[in-house]
């Protein structure tokens, strides 16, 4: 096998036996032969350029590997919390059903995204789905507004839908996520935004490699009453007795607000999980690509090094044979 390798090397070096080896020119983007100090007439082909590239690629590989480890540990911490919070929205869907295709005048799209980048395509997916929902619900007399959570979606949505953005909330994950923090955010949104239906767009954490874009719809109390009277999915809402001295509309109002904060909490946790999982796989493929690039650069480096040695030898030998005869 070593003989075959030598034969291959010989075949590769054969076209290089010329005053200016071609590989040196190909591998360096800068003007070739950075002349080193040496005896006059001897040219050293520089491996400096390739060596610099190898160093930087190796550093990138180390950094991305470390980022992957960090993302894996953060994922472990937050995954259990997200799975525990999954029971929170189920009673509401069991009671009120799910009406993603409801026809309302004012719909507000809450897009949840991450603050930091390098997490693969999940933020672009969320923004794509939000814009598609905007298009789906557009029509005469209908208005769609955005509420943006997270820097990445803000950057993408500000570019073309700036006038439709009502509220931008960033730095959600500076402190560890808690229900009280999310309920404050939900309160903020409910106070400042008028809506008939709220659609929360987030990436649901299915597994470490799969994140499903999901949209949860929450209807305002007036729409709930209207739908309950109209019949259909919410028709049997009227059969539920309202326990308490307050009127039905007050209870429905409280219910809608509570539902919003619960669904938001679960959505934010799931999105954070998806972000860490996507970052893990992005950094993993990045370090693998860096490793591949490093292999290729090593081969180029060795070829360049051997070519320079061969050139030196040839020059010496031809110089010696010229002296002899």
């Amino acid at each position: 096998m070593a003989m075959a390798a030598f034969r291959r090397e010989g075949r590769r070096l054969a076209p290089l036996i010329s005053p200016r080896p071609i590989t040196a020119v190909r591998s360096s983007p800068l003007p070739p032969t950075h002349e080193d100090e040496g005896p006059i007439g001897v040219r050293y082909i520089s491996t400096q350029v390739v060596r610099n590239r190898m160093k930087s690629v190796k550093n990138i590989q180390k950094i991305t590997k470390a980022m992957k480890m960090v993302a894996a540990s953060k994922l472990r911490a937050i995954q259990s919390r997200a799975e525990n919070s999954r029971g929170l929205w189920q009673p509401f869907t069991a009671l009120l059903g799910d009406n993603p295709s409801i026809d309302v005048k004012k719909s507000v799209i809450v897009t949840i995204s991450s603050d930091k980048g390098l997490c693969g395509g999940i933020n672009s997916t969320s923004v794509k789905i939000s814009k598609a929902l905007h298009k789906l619900n557009s029509g005469p007399e209908k208005e769609n507004k955005y509420v943006v959570l997270g820097e990445k979606a803000k950057a993408q949505l500000v570019r073309d839908s700036k006038k439709d953005i009502e509220l931008i909330i960033t730095e959600l994950q500076k402190n560890p996520l808690s229900y009280s923090q999310v309920s404050v955010v939900a309160d903020d949104i409910l106070k400042n935004v008028e809506f008939d239906a709220l659609r929360i767009v987030f990436n649901k954490f299915h597994s470490v490699v799969s994140f499903l874009p999901t949209v949860s719809t929450i209807l305002s109390p007036e729409v709930v009453e209207r739908e309950a009277e109209a019949g259909g999915k919410l028709g049997d809402l009227d059969s539920y007795e309202i326990e308490g001295g307050e009127t039905k509309s007050e209870i429905l109002q409280n219910l809608a607000e509570f539902q919003f904060s619960c669904v938001m909490f679960n959505a934010v946790l799931e999105n954070a999980c998806s972000e860490q999982g996507a970052r893990m796989s992005a950094m993993d493929s990045s370090s693998r690509n860096a490793g591949d690039m490093l292999d290729r650069l090593t081969l180029t480096y060795n070829r360049t090094r051997q070519a320079s040695i061969t050139t030196e030898l040839i020059e010496i030998i031809s110089g010696a044979s010229a002296l002899e005869g």
Binding site: R81, N84, S85, R86, G87, L88, W89, Q90, P91, F92, T93, A94, L95, G97, D98, P100, S101, K128, I129, A132, K135, L136, Y179, V201, K204, L212, P213, T214, V215, S216, T217, K233, D236, S239, Y240, E241, I242, E243, G244, G245, E246, I251, N254, L255, F258, C262, F265
Partner: protein, 200 residues
């Protein structure tokens, strides 16, 4: 010949596997179809997003006779305390007072005030102090209780309760704005409920 036989075997196995996945979510698919259809018409290039119904187990239908046990789901933001647990009775602290829920209870939506929730299963009773939330009782004898915070009663410190009560009473007397008065009043309500939970 062996290859053909393995091919023949592979196809029924594959279709069996496909069929077993299809039975996972029977009722959920129909609900989302209008959404998927309208989506595909307007936006054919992108896959439609999932909706919560596809992630939920379908609820049991309303039985014709009253079942013997009540199924309780008690969820908190950080954990599902009880999920589909079969019990005899739960007593929830509704805003109108303690409400007992037995199997066959009429469908109800009730808001909860801070108080004691007790779950009766046979001879054992588990009591939690809940901060507030909602309780839904469905016609199929499934009760959903959603609370923001719940602690078992033995974890509450009586001395801290007294201190808190005194602190909030003092805050109420010194409160100036409506917001401060409301906050102090809430504090008093919660602490006096805690107090009566510990004593009663």
């Amino acid at each position: 010949m062996l290859r053909r036989a393995s091919g023949l075997l592979a196809r029924p196995i594959l279709s069996a596997r496909a069929r077993s996945f299809a039975t996972d979510l029977p009722a959920a698919q129909t609900a989302d179809e209008t959404f998927v259809k309208t989506w595909k018409k307007v936006i054919p290039n992108i896959d439609p997003p999932k909706t919560p119904l596809s992630f939920m187990q379908p609820r049991p239908p309303t039985p014709s006779s009253i079942p013997s046990k009540l199924t309780v789901n008690f969820v908190l933001p950080y954990a599902s305390e009880l999920s589909t647990k079969e019990v005899d009775m739960v007593i929830v602290p509704a805003t109108t007072g303690q409400m007992g829920v037995l199997p066959g209870h009429v469908a109800t939506i009730s808001e909860l005030k801070p108080g004691v929730l007790s779950v009766h299963e046979g001879n054992e009773v588990i009591k939690y102090f809940v901060s507030g939330g909602f309780a839904f009782v469905h016609a199929n004898s499934v009760a959903d209780i959603i609370a923001v915070e719940a602690v078992p009663l033995d974890r509450i410190d009586a001395s801290l309760v007294q201190k808190g009560l005194a602190e909030f009473t003092q805050k109420l007397s010194s409160a100036t704005t409506d917001l401060e008065k409301a906050e102090a009043q809430i504090g008093i309500d919660v602490h006096s409920a805690l107090n009566s939970a510990l004593t009663g």
